[in-house]
């Protein structure tokens, strides 16, 4: 059985040595977007959409850290979104509304869950790993649906966004946007650092040739587990933010389809480049949001009824679009962007 992700070797990123155009532009765009939102006249909507992009960007990047750099295909990563979300929701319902309590608890819970399930899952390889992570994800999902005091399947509405040191700053959509951007940037910087560090090098080496790594004295299991825990915590953080963004938590945060979508965002963006995962998340969510409208717009020559029908069945276009991306654009969107530079 071949390893699940025989990825094209990702060049080791070198932080600081070369100012990379794409991530700089990406973050510049995120920094400039609120301005655009103000002008659009629908700032809450634009901010809400972009905040979601950033939050899923964090989650996708967390996954990329183990998928793109460690070849560990976790099919249960949405569980961490849920863990983070429920940590916020459950604590808030018991009166702990401060993010300074909620986020550490969420991170701890995610870390503990990742540690236990990771230790078991990492005994397996390839598709078996995919399926066992799915199994753990499903267990958490079903557990959440049976949490009657916390809304069960319907989920629970948060009375308000989390406080920060007792203050309700995050209630403001702009402040919340900046807070998410800060988290995204922090997660990105941390991931970049990890990938380039000694630890990251072992992780990348293990992806390329685990036997060789053992033969020079590394125990891959420890590094993979540590990476899994870090990745889980990052996804847990994304869960905290998602709960705050939607002001709502429910088991639907962690269906297996969600886990699939996360894998998707990573592959769509381009494996093993971190900012590729953010771009993948953006592409996925924006397509989901705008494809119906785009279809409606480009089919202006058809009758209104057909156009509405087309817009409603946007997934019939989205599906083939994905197939085409896989068939003709190797390496996802990042592959597409990289190509011109190589001539």
């Amino acid at each position: 059985m071949t390893e699940i992700a025989e990825t094209h070797p990702a060049p080791a990123p070198s932080l600081g040595t070369r100012l990379e155009v794409i991530p700089v532009m990406l973050f510049a765009a995120f920094a400039a977007a609120p301005l655009l939102a103000t002008f659009s006249g629908a700032e809450g909507y634009v901010l809400s959409l972009l905040t979601r992009v950033m939050i899923f960007g964090i989650a996708a990047m967390a996954l990329d850290l183990i998928l793109g750099y460690g070849a560990l295909v976790s099919f249960g990563h949405a569980a961490f979104l849920g863990l983070g979300g429920y940590a916020v929701g459950i604590l808030a319902s018991h009166g702990f509304e401060d993010a300074l309590i909620q986020i550490p608890v969420a991170l701890l819970a995610s870390a503990a869950f990742a540690f236990v399930t990771g230790a078991i899952s990492l005994r397996t390889k390839g598709v078996y790993f995919i399926m066992i992570t799915l199994a753990f994800g499903q267990m958490v999902y079903f557990l959440a649906t049976s949490l009657a005091p916390y809304g069960g399947d319907d989920g629970m509405t948060l009375a308000s966004r989390s406080l920060i040191a007792g203050s309700g700053w995050l209630e403001n959509d702009f402040t919340f946007y900046w807070f998410c951007l800060l988290c995204l940037f922090g997660a990105y910087a941390l991931s970049r650092s990890i990938v380039a560090s000694r630890f990251g090098r072992v992780l990348r080496g293990t992806r390329e040739n685990a036997v060789r790594m053992e033969a020079i004295g590394f125990r891959p299991f420890r590094f993979q587990l540590a990476a899994y825990v870090i990745s889980g915590m990052m996804a847990g953080l994304a869960g905290c933010l998602l709960a705050n963004q939607a002001e709502f938590v429910s088991p639907s945060f962690m269906t297996w389809q969600r886990s699939g979508e996360l894998i998707f965002m990573v592959v769509l963006g381009g494996l093993g480049s971190l900012h590729g995962a953010i771009i993948g998340a953006a592409a996925f969510l924006l397509l989901e949001e705008f494809l119906p409208e785009i279809l409606h717009t480009v089919s202006f020559f058809l009758s209104e009824e057909t156009r509405a029908h087309l817009a409603e069945n946007w997934k019939m276009v989205f599906g083939p679009l994905l197939i085409l991306v896989v068939l003709f654009v190797r390496g996802g969107i990042m592959g597409l962007l990289r190509r011109p530079h190589h001539g």
Binding site: L190, R198, F199, R201, R204, N209, R212, I216
Partner: protein, 251 residues
């Protein structure tokens, strides 16, 4: 006779009825280059796998520096100073030659649980790694991705990686396999330089190289050691001639 660095006692590996190594006992003395020869399918690579910890043994004991390491994992054996190369080149193709070696230096140099700092820039890692590359004559190719090196260079890189783990004993599985004449000359020269500093166990088909390098030679036939002796005496041993060298012309 000095205390052996590596001692195998009645080592055995079988898959069901198929016995691959059978009751292998031999010892490697500190400072010697001990070659293992034998016809194809004699179990040489399996033996290396057993010693390095890649394959568990069905019975028998492995002692290293007097310690029983039979049940230790591969990384644990590496920690104790047992390094190996692979018959089929096993490197990290996406990493540069330097990084391949630097990783091995990193493995020996303590904590790899460091999440900050750019490992590619660490002098503590790159310095010794460059030394090892220099030793095998690859210094000029340090920044080439290992996957793009020529076959011979990859063999040299394997050696450098093995060296970088600072082993007491280096297990080399056919380091000359598939190399051209010039390349193999370079590897042989490298081995000759190394043998003064290191204990080496060498599996090799190239008899010329074996007999010019080895201090002692063990002959493995159908999983059994039929003789261990100096190269000259092995050359003269009638059992070896009969069982292994047979009709083949001796060098």
């Amino acid at each position: 006779m000095a205390e052996p660095l590596l001692e195998l006692r009645n080592l055995r590996k079988n898959y069901g009825a198929l016995v691959v190594t059978d009751d292998v006992s031999l010892s490697v003395l500190p400072g010697e280059l001990h070659a293992i020869i034998g016809p194809n399918g004699a179990g040489k690579t399996t033996l290396i796998h057993q010693i390095s910890g890649m394959l568990p043994s069905n019975s028998g004991q492995i002692l290293f520096s007097g310690e029983d390491i039979t049940d230790l994992s591969m990384p644990q054996r590496v920690d104790r100073g047992l390094a190996r190369s692979f018959q089929i080149t096993s490197i990290l193709p996406g990493f540069s030659a330097l990084e391949n070696v630097a990783l091995a230096v990193q493995a020996r140099s303590g904590s790899s649980f460091r999440f900050f700092g750019n490992a590619a820039q660490e002098k503590d890692l790159n310095g010794p790694a460059m030394e090892c590359l220099g030793e095998v004559g690859l210094a000029a190719r340090a920044h080439i991705p290992a996957g793009l090196l020529s076959h011979g260079e990859k063999r040299q890189l394997e050696l450098a990686i093995g060296l970088a783990t600072a082993p007491k004993l280096l297990l080399l599985d056919e380091p000359l396999a598939g190399t051209g004449h010039d390349e193999s000359q370079r590897v042989v020269e490298t081995l000759r330089r190394l043998k003064s500093r290191l204990t080496i166990m060498l599996i090799e088909h190239d008899m010329e190289a074996v007999f010019s390098l080895a201090d002692r030679v063990s002959v493995l036939v159908y999983g059994r050691v039929i003789a261990t002796d100096t190269p000259e005496r092995i050359r003269a041993n009638p059992d070896v001639r009969a069982a292994y060298l047979g009709e083949e012309e001796m060098v």
